[in-house]
């Protein structure tokens, strides 16, 4: 039997649609930022926008907001691993 104590929480259509609209707006924003061609700043801002979009998908679409805490905590493991790997690699690359 499915454990009904789990989240039978149903996210409303409105929440999903608003999130989708926000994602579309962020997409057009990121295109505008790229057109402004601010060099390195453009890349940084666009990566931040991409991360915001990813967070919206994770939080709402992937239901992470409504999941138990262990799911949110464990996500930090791969994110942290990749961040450290890329970060430490750049400490090497920058000084070659």
């Amino acid at each position: 039997m499915m454990n009904q104590k789990e989240s039978p929480h149903i996210v409303g259509t409105r929440t999903f649609v608003f999130t989708w609209i926000a994602l579309l707006l962020l997409t057009s924003l990121t295109i505008k930022v790229a057109e402004m061609q601010m060099g390195r700043l453009s890349m940084l801002v666009n990566l931040l926008i991409a991360s915001t979009k990813a967070c919206l998908v994770l939080w709402v679409f992937m239901h992470l907001k409504y999941e138990r805490r262990i799911f949110k905590l464990l996500l930090i493991v791969p994110i942290g691993t990749i961040t450290i790997i890329i970060g430490l690699t750049f400490f090497d690359i920058w000084y070659r």
């Binding site: 499915m2 789990e6 990121t30 991409a50 999941e67 890329i86 690359i93």
Partner: protein, 206 residues
């Protein structure tokens, strides 16, 4: 002799365990693509100008269209799960079908894009590409491998959703047992997230 009732309600389902397992798999996918993003980051740092030049070959129209397509497909996927939870089986199937159609549209665009690039002589090991600077060769290599592996994931996702769609029709995925659909959704959303990062990295470095 008591009759043994093998009805569906007697099946033991570990809902949280199944979901947990899916998230663990998604973590491995993050590491898989993360490794490729690492390659991209390093080579772009080393060949900044070449990457800018090579990116001129990309079509902002197709990249943006594919981004909108995948974001919308994530919406339809999420709506299909809410629908099955509300026992709106037909609505769920319609949203699943919509997700499949959007996924196919994405792949169609990819085929058009790749065809253009290949016709222009930009494909792995082409004489035209090998004559270009090292940075440009790396850019296109990364482009084909990363969007290619991502495209395979889209195809796998489409296939699985089709399978789940059939299960939904047969009531094997229902309002009391929908974890297969939910896990499929998790996979699909991750594929969307990966594209969310691929888009600015390949299409927005003008």
């Amino acid at each position: 002799m008591t009759e043994i009732n093998y009805s569906k309600s007697q099946k033991s389902i570990d809902y949280t365990g199944a979901k947990f397992g899916m998230w663990l798999f998604l973590f491995t996918e993050i590491l898989l693509f993360g490794g490729m993003f690492l390659l991209y980051a390093v080579y772009r740092q080393v060949h900044t100008a070449d990457f800018h030049d090579a990116a001129m070959e990309m079509s902002l129209f197709f990249g943006s269209a594919n981004t909108v397509i995948l974001l919308t497909s994530s919406l339809t996927m999420a709506l299909s799960i809410s629908a099955i939870k509300r026992n709106a089986r037909v609505h769920s199937m319609i949203f699943q079908a919509a997700t499949v159609i959007l996924g196919l549209a994405f792949l169609g665009n990819k085929i058009i894009e790749w065809r253009e690039h290949i016709l222009h002589g930009y494909y792995p090991d082409s004489p035209q590409l090998l004559a270009m600077s090292h940075g440009k060769i790396l850019y296109f290599g990364l482009y084909y491998v990363m969007t290619g592996i991502h495209g395979i994931h889209v195809l796998i996702g489409i296939t699985i959703i089709c399978f789940i769609l059939i299960l939904t029709k047969l009531d094997k995925v229902s309002s009391t047992d929908y974890i297969k659909l939910e896990n499929t959704g998790l996979f699909w959303h991750l594929v969307d997230i990966i594209w969310i990062y691929l888009f600015p990295l390949f299409y927005l470095i003008k």
